[in-house]
C-alpha cells in the first residue's frame, strides 16, 4: 500500500515540477498558460489520490468520510481549474497581448 502512495505522490511531484519549469521557460503568456492550466489539474488530482490511499488504511466510517471529502476537493478543482485558466487567458486576449510566433519580426 505504501508503495502505491509513494509512487503516486512522486509522480505528482514530477508533474508539478514540470509545470513549474514550463511556467518559467515558455516564451509567451499563452504558452505559459498551457503549462499552468494543464499540468496543475492532473498533478493535483494524483496527489489527492495518493492522500486518499494513505488515509484509507482501515475501513471505518470516519475514514470513509475523510476520503470522500478529499475526493470532493478533487471534483471542485476539476471544475474550477479549467475555468480559471479560461478566465485568465480570456483577460489576456482582451487586453491585447500578442501571441509569440515563430518569426517575431513579422508582427509589431
Amino acid at each position: 500500500m505504501d508503495i502505491i502512495v509513494i509512487l503516486l505522490s512522486v509522480s505528482g511531484l514530477v508533474l508539478f515540477f514540470a509545470t513549474t519549469v514550463g511556467l518559467l521557460r515558455f516564451p509567451d503568456f499563452y504558452s505559459r498558460m498551457h503549462a499552468a492550466g494543464k499540468g496543475d489539474t492532473l498533478s493535483s488530482l494524483i496527489m489527492l489520490l495518493a492522500l486518499v490511499f494513505y488515509n484509507f488504511h482501515e475501513m471505518n466510517l470516519a475514514n470513509l468520510l475523510v476520503a470522500i471529502k478529499i475526493l470532493l476537493i478533487g471534483v471542485f478543482i476539476f471544475m474550477a481549474s479549467p475555468t480559471a485558466t479560461h478566465a485568465i487567458i480570456d483577460a489576456g486576449y482582451e487586453s491585447g497581448i500578442q501571441p509569440w510566433t515563430k518569426k517575431p519580426e513579422e508582427e509589431s
Binding site: V14, L15, A18, T19, V21, G22, R25, F26, P27, D28, Y30, S31, M33, H34, A35, G37, K38, G39, T41, L42, S43, L61, A62, L65, I68, K69, L72, P82, T83, T85, H86, I89, D90, Y93, P99, W100, T101, K102
Partner: protein, 159 residues
C-alpha cells in the same frame, strides 16, 4: 420542481460534509438545504427540462474516463515540451476559430473545458457558436474540434 431537485442534491452534499447522523444535525441539514434551495435553485438548474437529466448524467459519467485519458496525455505533452531542451523548435502557437454545432450552454461549457484539458489547446472565448482556441502547435490545431465534439453531442444532445 427545481427547488425539490436542488434540495435533494444539497441534502446529499450536506450528509457527505457533516458525517453526523443524529437528529439534531440532520434537522440543521434540512433547514440549511431548504435555505440554499430557496436562495439559489434558479441558478443551479437554469435550463432543466425535468427528469430527462438522469440519462444525460449517466452518459456523462461514461464520457469521463476518456476525458481523464486525454488529460493524462495532455499533461505528458506539456511535461515533454517544458523539459525539452530545444523547446522553441517544438512549438508553433496559433489562434484558430471554429464553429460548433452544439446548442445548449451545458454542452458548450463541457466542450470548452474539455478543449482546455486536452493536449495543446486552450479555449479563449465563446462568442455565440464560434470558439476561439489557442493551440500550441499546428498539429494540435488541426485536430479541432474533432472527436470530442461528436462525443459531447452524443452525451448531451441525443434525444
Amino acid at each position: 420542481m427545481r427547488k425539490v431537485y436542488t434540495f435533494i442534491i444539497m441534502m446529499g452534499f450536506w450528509i457527505l460534509l457533516s458525517g453526523k447522523f443524529d437528529l439534531f444535525h440532520l434537522t440543521l441539514g434540512v433547514i440549511s438545504s431548504a435555505l440554499v434551495s430557496f436562495m439559489s435553485a434558479d441558478l443551479f438548474m437554469h435550463e432543466t427540462k425535468g427528469p430527462g437529466k438522469l440519462s444525460v448524467g449517466i452518459r456523462f459519467l461514461l464520457y469521463l474516463p476518456w476525458l481523464l485519458y486525454q488529460i493524462g496525455l495532455s499533461t505528458l505533452h506539456v511535461t515533454f515540451l517544458a523539459l525539452h531542451p530545444k523547446m522553441k523548435d517544438q512549438i508553433d502557437p496559433t489562434i484558430v476559430t471554429f464553429k460548433t454545432k452544439l446548442k445548449t450552454d451545458l454542452a458548450k461549457v463541457a466542450l470548452a473545458n474539455s478543449i482546455t484539458l486536452t493536449p495543446g489547446t486552450i479555449t479563449i472565448r465563446i462568442v455565440d457558436q464560434v470558439f476561439y482556441v489557442h493551440a500550441i502547435s499546428r498539429k494540435a490545431a488541426a485536430g479541432l474540434p474533432g472527436e470530442m465534439e461528436d462525443r459531447l453531442a452524443n452525451v448531451f444532445e441525443r434525444d
